[in-house]
Symmetry: C2
Subunit: 137 residues, 2 copies
């Protein structure tokens, strides 16, 4: 039995519309004023035809799930792998999803972690390795 | 010759104090209200003896460097690997650093990406894979 009460296949999702305001605040927090996020004129002429959301903002929704749902509060996040597969634009609604892939010794848990936008397009994929909190109850 | 004008060993750094305000705004942007970030009473009784900064906020400084310095604007971020090695507390000053490890075919660049706090402790380590923008000049 695994102390953390988790099973392979357990999953959770969290959705959020990433607004213009989110993008601007995130730029202020991180100092990332890359024109692809901040300059509509330059970004319109570029690869994605307009400004895109910071990939780390989108990906952060994964950690919201790890820390609040599965495994939840008390989780220690050891490792995160992220693959950025496509653009998220201001106004897109992102659904992050975590799914338990493997229960390992000493409370370690490997999870698939991904984000999709409203049309189902996978925009971030990857894996997390965490230590789940002990559930002594 | 590599189109992007980069050489192995090229590096850049960016430092920022991560304040209480940054932490609270980031929680609002991501919905991550894990008590280890938000509840001083619970966090004081926990593993780190107080609230800690969201690991993805710290790690985001890496992307600031990738998108604004090395390789810089126009960079396409393909993959990011993160290892969370220690806590960052509100008020800590984080220095992110990126260093070119390998120049690969088709403009791909592999970089070491890490963050340290003011006493030199490594708090995030990992690697990025990006496509550098073409420098046609």
């Amino acid at each position: 039995m695994h102390a953390q009460g988790l099973a392979v296949g357990d999953c959770a999702e969290f959705s959020k519309t990433i607004t213009e305001t989110d993008l601007v605040l995130f730029a202020g927090l991180t100092g990332d004023f890359n024109p692809c996020h901040m300059d509509e004129v330059q970004a319109s002429a570029g690869r994605f035809g307009g400004r895109i959301v910071h990939g780390m903002l989108t990906s952060s929704l994964i950690c919201t799930l790890l820390g609040m749902r599965i495994p939840g509060p008390g989780t220690l996040h050891l490792r995160q792998q992220l693959e950025f597969l496509g653009p998220v634009r201001p106004g897109d609604t992102v659904t992050a999803r975590v799914e338990v892939l493997e229960l390992m010794p000493r409370g370690r848990v490997r999870l698939r972690t991904c984000c999709r936008i409203q049309d189902g397009t996978l925009v971030v994929d990857g894996e997390a390795l965490v230590v789940a909190p002990r559930r002594d109850a």
